[in-house]
């Protein structure tokens, strides 16, 4: 009985001092709007499209049907729209692109005030 009480008091004190130890450690908080997290180049953020030929493979592998490709009369790419309200950032369009023209950047701040703004045409038409 006495031993049990002694052990429990010892355990409680041990726990308390372990917690107290953390008082003197540096904080691990990342103060977000001022400090941005480090992102590797594998990060899957907003899409960047360069040199696309419009083969449409990305449309076929997209699990959430978020890609809309529009071609003009000469069979050239006219519009490449990604619906960010549907996109789940799985990266399939990037991984399976045969020409490696789809890239995903480190930009992750994608919030918009209006749902229609989420339909983004990312095709880079040149100057």
């Amino acid at each position: 009985m006495v031993k049990k009480i002694y052990l429990s008091i010892k355990a409680i004190l041990k726990g308390h001092f372990t917690v107290l130890k953390h008082l003197f450690r540096n904080s691990v908080t990342l103060e977000y709007p001022e400090v941005h997290p480090f992102l590797n180049h594998y990060f899957r953020g907003r899409h960047v499209l360069e040199g696309c030929r419009g083969c449409g493979l990305c449309k076929r592998v997209c699990p959430s049907d978020a890609i809309m490709i529009e071609k003009n009369d000469n069979n050239y790419l006219n519009k490449y729209v990604i619906d960010y309200s549907k996109c789940i950032f799985c990266g399939n369009c990037m991984f399976y692109c045969p020409t490696h023209s789809m890239k995903m950047s480190n930009d992750y701040e994608l919030a918009k005030t209006n749902k229609s703004q989420l339909l983004t045409d990312i095709y880079y038409k040149g100057v």
């Binding site: 429990s8 726990g15 594998y42 899957r44 699990p63 399976y96």
Partner: protein
């Protein structure tokens, strides 16, 4: 005497998601329990029937967002068995390493939230601090924090994994587990909340289909890792505990984390000795004829045995995909073991089973 019907959930702070328990209370003693699930149903099984294998692969991570690699593995393995694709050995090691890291992250999250349920505040932040390391490492390698889409049919996406960082993370976690144990394991209040609470006997555990750490805490030696071929070359112990109460489930998970660290270190040791720089990327579009057949693919996930049943009739899309998950059965057992316990023990029992609701509803 009138009984009070208490509706615990689906928006309760500690049901970890959207479980709804309809409890009938006599004072503070529970007389009957009815778990209601389905608030998070995303029809992942129906979706499989209209998506090609490659389209379905990113969805698989979403069966359980806390341990996505296991489900990716189960599905990839099913597809590879179906189409007889050989997975290179290095890819298997990378898979095991990532799965075990995922197990660590999942168990750490469980530990923090379980103690938060019991009322201890700081351990949650400590475990999240370590989990953050693991998740940031995943983000660095795979590109996202929870929905990895990293395992592909026939291997992994790329082999640019930062082994030194992984080694640093697991070493750190191994030391920190001792620190958690200092705070918690011998604490008399924690013991009074968990010892002899929510006892699941061997027979009950088997009857209700418990698997994983919950089953091993009841004293039954059943770990699917011991017969999985990818774990063949790795040494590890299976943790067993005999009491079957909340405390032994806690202890089993704590020791399992240590075992995971041990496994990861073996994988890292192997991977450091081979040259991974010339391995080609594994991003090509499979447009081959799918074989016919039905595959049962198993993996030992953090929350129990996970089975992926895949039936193919040779089409581009699976004919039927069925997920068997551990939490589904851990939720069911609440019907039985919550009878006759106090209301304040509900959270300590439910938390100790480590239920994650997306896995239940799929």
């Amino acid at each position: 005497m009138d009984k009070m019907v208490l509706n615990l959930g689906p928006q309760h702070p500690s049901t970890h998601g959207v479980l709804r328990l309809i409890l009938e209370l006599d004072g503070e003693i529970i007389t009957s329990v009815e778990p209601e699930v389905g608030y998070l149903h995303r029809s992942l099984e129906k979706m499989a029937e209209s998506k090609s294998y490659i389209q379905y692969l990113p969805m698989v991570d979403r069966v359980d967002y806390l341990s996505g690699f296991f489900y990716s593995y189960a599905f990839c393995n099913a597809y590879e068995t179906l189409n007889h694709i050989q997975v290179p050995e290095y890819a298997n090691y990378i898979r095991v390493m990532f799965m075990e890291l995922n197990r660590l992250a999942s168990h750490l999250l469980w530990l923090g939230t379980y103690l938060l349920d019991l009322g201890a505040i700081s351990p949650m932040f400590y475990t999240f601090r370590e989990r953050e390391d693991v998740v940031t490492y995943f983000e660095k390698v795979t590109g996202q924090r929870l929905m990895y889409n990293y395992f592909v049919f026939g291997g992994v996406r790329h082999c640019d994994i930062y082994l030194d960082e992984a080694l640093r993370i697991v070493d750190n976690i191994y030391n920190k587990i001792d620190e958690y144990e200092d705070i918690i394991t011998e604490n008399p209040i924690f013991l009074s909340r968990t010892k002899d609470i929510g006892i699941i006997s061997k027979q009950k555990a088997l009857d209700w289909g418990l698997t994983g750490p919950n089953l091993r805490a009841s004293g039954i030696l059943q770990d699917y890792r011991s017969i999985m071929p990818i774990y063949d070359d790795l040494e590890f112990d299976i943790i067993l505990s005999s009491e079957g109460d909340c405390y032994s489930r806690y202890i089993v998970r704590i020791y399992e984390m240590r075992e995971s660290v041990y496994i990861i270190k073996q994988c890292i040791e192997y991977l450091q000795n081979i040259n991974l720089s010339n391995v080609p990327l594994n991003n090509f579009y499979h447009k081959q004829k799918q074989h016919e057949g039905e595959i049962y693919s198993f993996v030992e996930a953090p929350r129990g045995l996970t089975m992926c049943y895949l039936k193919s009739v040779g089409e581009d899309t699976p004919y039927r995909v069925k997920w068997r998950t551990g939490s589904y059965y851990s939720t069911q057992i609440l019907k039985d073991i919550l009878k006759g316990v106090y209301l304040s023990d509900v959270m300590s029992i439910y938390g100790s089973l480590d239920v994650v609701l997306p896995e239940v509803d799929r």
